[in-house]
Amino acid sequence: MSHEYIPEIATDRDGNKHEVQGWQDDFYGGKLGFWLFMFTEVLMFGAMFMVLAYYNTLHPEAFIEASASLNRLLGGINTVILLVSALTMGLSLLKMRVGDVKGAKLMIWATILLAIAFLVIKGFEWRAEYNHGIFLMHGEMLPESGMAFGKKLFFGMYFTMTGIHGFHIIIGIGLMIWLLKRINAGKVTPAHHILHWNIALYWDIVHLIWVFVFPYYYMIGAGGVAGGH
């Protein structure tokens, strides 16, 4: 069976038809499409926050006590790391846009290192919690254990949401390495940088999710039970 080439046709505002040579220059379309993807991320994490809020209304005191037992120092360090990484990623895009490709690549590498640091710290945190018997389907989290049910719900959501967030960080590292390869191959340039723009947006949404994950899990118990809701 032969495959006949059928050109894609775009029509301009005056009704003239043109054969499409490529969509690489459709900067706004590329950005808009990525924003649509990010809204699906908001919906996914929004649903998880809804579940969290529901459980919280059922077991407010257990949630505050469980939150107070998390390591706020490590959580805070990770918050600052993500914050600085958002800056380095933003600066990498800015440098790309003004033509400083080498500077842009350096900033992407800085972002990758910060992302790895985030994961390492998160790993230490999870390890400490595991050693205390707090992990999904393990020790204190098992149905027969004596831990308060509200705390089980809290920690179950904590591992689920920080785990999915961590998975997004890993994907982000992969995307940044791919971006570096595309820059080296000359496929992403100061004139065609939509891929860079969208990966920077992805990194911002990962940061944005943490902006809400951190206070909800680590800080609501900082004032003790008297802190209330």
């Binding site: 900067f27 809020a53 600052v80 914050l83």
Partner: protein
Amino acid sequence: MDTNNTTIDYKKERVAYYKVLVGLLLLTAVTFIQPHLFMTESTFLAQMTIAVIKAWLIIMYYMHLKGDSLIGVMGIFSLVIVATFMVIVIGFDVANFQFGAESHITGPASAGVEHATPVQH
């Protein structure tokens, strides 16, 4: 609207990035001191308010939504949809959950140390 052809004022944009960074760092510091300093009776509300301000800074400046009305309207529309469902689910459905007594989740907390002293992990 940003396009590939937009003229970029590198210094101005870089300064804006650093200003936002300082703002976010200050707000993070406020996050830590808030439970001991202000709104101590409503930590959750205070923390979420700070988070919303941080999110606004990130969306407007790091995600370049400032001046991009189309995506901005889309964002607000999506958030309104999520908020509406949240109100319906939490405010009406959950508040009037008719199987609360039989549900494992909504039932009374199981035996255990419900109010034990928190232990740092």
